[in-house]
Amino acid sequence: MSPRPPMRDIRLLDQPFLPGMLIGPFTQANKGLGGVCTFVGEVRFDQGVEALELTHYAPLTLPGMHALATQAFGRFDLMGLLMVHRVGMMRPGEPIVCVSAAALHRRDAIDAVDFCMDHLKSAAWFWKREKRAGEWRWVEPREADHSDLARWHDPI
């Protein structure tokens, strides 16, 4: 175990970001780690989508992400956790989410990233609009985002 308190970096960004600019310093800050797992999601080039806009309700979003980080620290043996999500207007190909976990052992790092990605949508709410042929349209909810979450409901 690391003697210092675990490092937690949770951010909502309203401007484009370069994941490497976050992950490099994050890795450097966790001296003595065994491994770092990182997931970066990008806005997909879906047929005809010119832009994507994410709206959030700040009083719920950041506390939701912090609560998720607390769960992850409780469940996995982590040295550090980075969780960054874009809001605002994005173009296809831009990073939209970056989750990085540093741990002594690779299983904790990989599983923590998997867990956070599966739960981020339910922990932090985002409303999504897509622009196609110059027109903005809200993306409707899906009934079935449950199978990913169900993977984590077994007793530990």
Binding site: P59, K121, W125, W127, W138, R142, D145
Partner: protein, 79 residues
């Protein structure tokens, strides 16, 4: 005044991201004070309501006074 924050498509229905209403308001009072199309859109049972940043379990329990912020949260977008 009570601030009513409108998220997602509810902002489009209202034509604005937030409204200011006279308080105090309970759920029935809020719906009555909102434009018809918005009050109608609130009929969707998947909507959630937050008072001062905290989700409330039951809209019947809503009691907002001057200075409070009510957020009306439609279901979030899919994957």
């Amino acid at each position: 005044m009570i601030t009513v924050v409108l998220l997602g498509k509810l902002a489009d229905v209202a034509g604005a991201p937030s409204l200011s209403l006279q308080g105090p308001l309970d759920w029935a009072g809020l719906k009555a004070a909102l434009p018809d199309t918005l009050a109608e859109a609130l009929g969707d049972p998947r909507n959630r309501v937050a008072l001062n940043g905290a989700l409330i379990a039951d809209t019947a329990a809503l009691q907002a006074a001057a200075g409070d912020e009510i957020a009306l949260l439609p279901p979030v977008s899919g994957g």
